[in-house]
């Protein structure tokens, strides 16, 4: 029998995980399905479980001058409805899943799950999100892109829990999130794209792209983005083919029951081209 804990507070969790290995169940939208048992039977968890959905310490959305901090157990819906949430994040959440799933799915759960098709990761990569981890030893902050190491693999020690997600407060002149799913809502993405750009006196001062479901994790290439800073809009538009070629190397999707690699790659690059051409 696996152990199951409904903790009263975060220090109880930190105590427990310092001694023994547990997995966390936040909203449950993924954990329950991944460990689904026959209907009417309890969920078939293979590991010890701590339920974190209602932990007060993991709730809350706050801001200071430069950053927005989101508690790991905040539901997607409450992030969507909070007025301090950046529009770029709201645009993504609006296209994610269904209202029911948005009410129970959490930001921490999405990150911990590290699915290559996780839509929420796409804007979080783009916003250089930082994941805050806590253990009895203290607090560790990791860049999300470093935290997710592979398909469904994360850099989380057994004695740590994800407590907060910190994103910089930033607005772009233009951003566009496109989720390409098998239908127009309530479906896992075939791929997704997010582009964001800001200009100063017609020169690019910030340019970012992230792609979901076209590689083992979200594709974000700051070194490519950097090559176009201080170009004029016209120069950027003129170098669209070159830009596509640079990204092409990193867009390496797979064939599966939802789509195929030709489609995923073509459409990912089409979306990038379309974003640039419509600037």
């Amino acid at each position: 029998m696996v152990k199951q804990i409904l903790p009263k507070n975060l220090s109880e969790v930190l105590e427990l995980i310092s001694k023994e290995k547990y997995r966390f169940c936040a909203g449950g939208t993924d954990m329950l399905i991944q460990n689904h048992n026959l209907k009417t039977l309890p969920i078939d968890f293979k590991d010890n479980i701590i339920y974190t959905f209602n932990l007060e310490e993991l709730k809350g959305i706050t801001e200071d001058e430069d950053f927005i901090t989101i508690g790991a157990s905040e539901s997607l819906e409450s992030i969507l409805e909070n007025k301090i949430t950046p529009q770029i994040l709201k645009d993504t959440i609006l296209q994610m899943a269904s209202p029911a799933i948005r009410h129970s799915g959490t930001i921490g759960g999405n990150i911990g799950n590290a699915s290559p098709a996780g839509d929420l990761l796409v804007p979080l990569y783009l916003l250089n999100a930082i994941v805050q981890l806590q253990s009895l030893k203290g607090i560790r902050s990791v860049l999300l892109s470093d935290f997710i190491t592979h398909v469904r693999r994360i850099d989380l020690r057994d004695d740590e829990i994800i407590t907060k997600i910190i994103i910089s407060k930033i607005n772009f002149d233009k951003h566009q999130f496109v989720k390409v799913g098998p239908r127009l809502s309530d479906a896992i993405s075939k791929l997704s794209f997010l582009g964001a750009v800001s200009f100063h006196e017609d020169k690019v001062i910030d340019l970012r792209f992230s792609f979901g479901a076209v590689n083992i994790t979200v594709v974000r290439r700051p070194e490519i983005e950097a090559q176009y800073i201080y170009k004029t809009k016209e120069e950027l538009k003129n170098s669209v083919d070159e830009l596509l070629e640079k990204y092409s190397e990193y867009i390496r999707p797979i064939d599966d029951q939802r789509s195929n690699k030709e489609y995923r790659k073509t459409v990912a690059l089409n979306l990038l081209r379309n974003f640039i051409e419509e600037l």
């Binding site: 199951q4 409904l6 954990m31 009417t40 029911a100 799933i101 129970s104 809502s185």
Partner: protein, 157 residues
Amino acid sequence: MAKIDFRLNGVPVSIETQLNRRLLDVLHEDFDLIGIKEGCGEGECGACAVLFDHEIINSCSVPIANCANKDIVTIEGFSNTSRYKILKDAFEEEGAVQCGFCTPGMMIAAESLLNKNPKPTTEEIKIGLSGNLCRCTGYNMIIKAIQRAAKVGEGKW
């Protein structure tokens, strides 16, 4: 086993249970609330939808552990309200019910939607229903029913 207290259809309840049971099973088996249907078991179809602190969730995707001290309302509880009556009449008058298996979930989705947005546009209704699958109606009459309810029940939400 653990003790979980929550409000169910307005009444405080308490159960001794395993924490890893789905809210769906607790409601359907332990409380015999048959208005909650299992269609897919993985959060896609919405037939098991209930209100969880006044917002729609799929009870197949929520462990009972997450329900401690929450306010859960099922179609059985909702059906005692005046808003239910408005929605029910609208569903009947617009022909929104065929096999009926998705219907309680659709009612919950409609209530959750109107609760937040009493005057939804067609597009907003579609978004509000996007997590509830219906294979019989093509949704057209369900959308019309919600439009009708919003109009008839103006001021109720």
